[in-house]
């Protein structure tokens, strides 16, 4: 029973985390979903080396345990936990930059803001008219003209 409950918990955490990562619209929720999925993955990895009725893999003088759990996945999980916190801090730093640049943390709104900023940046160098909508441009999207060598648009 215990084995089934633990595997169900690990896979459930992984599934909840990935579903939240895909479905959530807020960028901070996506970071939290990443943390949840990472916890599930760590638990699943540790369960791969678990032996029922085993002892902790600590050798002490005089008493050598006959059945030990596997210490190699434990070392892997130990590394994965620390790397996970590093990834989390990087994601938070990127979120702070996104909020500074676009002023929003909604996923689709941030994408729209970034595209508009990029279009303004490109529009400075070109004479082509700006397309009305980025998601549904009318007709074929015009290619931006190449800047000639002689005339520097800057």
């Amino acid at each position: 029973m215990m084995e089934m409950v633990l595997y169900a918990g690990a896979v459930g955490l992984l599934v909840i985390g990935i579903a939240g990562l895909v479905l959530s619209h807020h960028l901070f929720r996506q970071v939290l979903a990443l943390v949840i999925a990472e916890a599930g993955a760590n638990l699943l990895l540790l369960l791969a080396g678990y032996r029922f009725g085993g002892e902790a893999p600590i050798w002490s003088e005089g008493s050598f345990p006959s059945v030990m759990v596997d210490p190699v996945p434990q070392a892997m999980v130990l590394t994965a936990i620390v790397i996970g916190v590093g990834i989390q801090a990087l994601a938070i730093a990127l979120l702070i930059r996104v909020r500074q640049q676009t002023g929003t943390l909604d996923r689709e709104q941030a994408v729209i803001e970034m595209r508009e900023a990029l279009d303004q940046e490109l529009g400075r160098f070109s004479t082509a008219p700006k397309p009305r909508s980025q998601y549904a441009p009318k007709g074929e999207r015009p290619l931006y003209p190449v800047v000639e060598e002689g005339q520097d648009a800057r």
Binding site: I16, A39, L47, Q88, I92, L95
Partner: protein, 92 residues
């Protein structure tokens, strides 16, 4: 049906962790979500102790539950999400 007490503790912890994960993704307030993620990390720590991995439990408790929660809580204040309960920005 011989079940040890460890099975029931594992069942309880897994239930707490799954519900904390759901609360973290479905709650409206961001502060509640961060606290739920910390609860999930603490449950994972106890589960690691139960799984005969005391070193991993120590690391998870210090780094996962402590440092990670600290980073997330500081990010809350930096991102200005502490009092934001606007609908539309916090669904799913």
């Amino acid at each position: 049906m011989v079940e040890s007490i460890e099975s029931w503790i594992a069942l309880l912890l897994v239930g707490v962790m799954l519900s904390a994960a759901l609360v973290a993704l479905l709650s409206r307030s961001h502060l509640v979500a961060v606290v739920s993620v910390s609860v999930l990390s603490l449950g994972l720590t106890l589960l690691f102790v139960l799984l005969k991995a005391p070193d991993v439990a120590m690391t998870e408790g210090v780094v996962g539950a402590g440092l990670s929660s600290l980073i997330l809580a500081l990010a809350l204040s930096r991102l200005g999400l502490l009092r934001s309960t606007k609908a539309g920005a916090t669904d799913e």
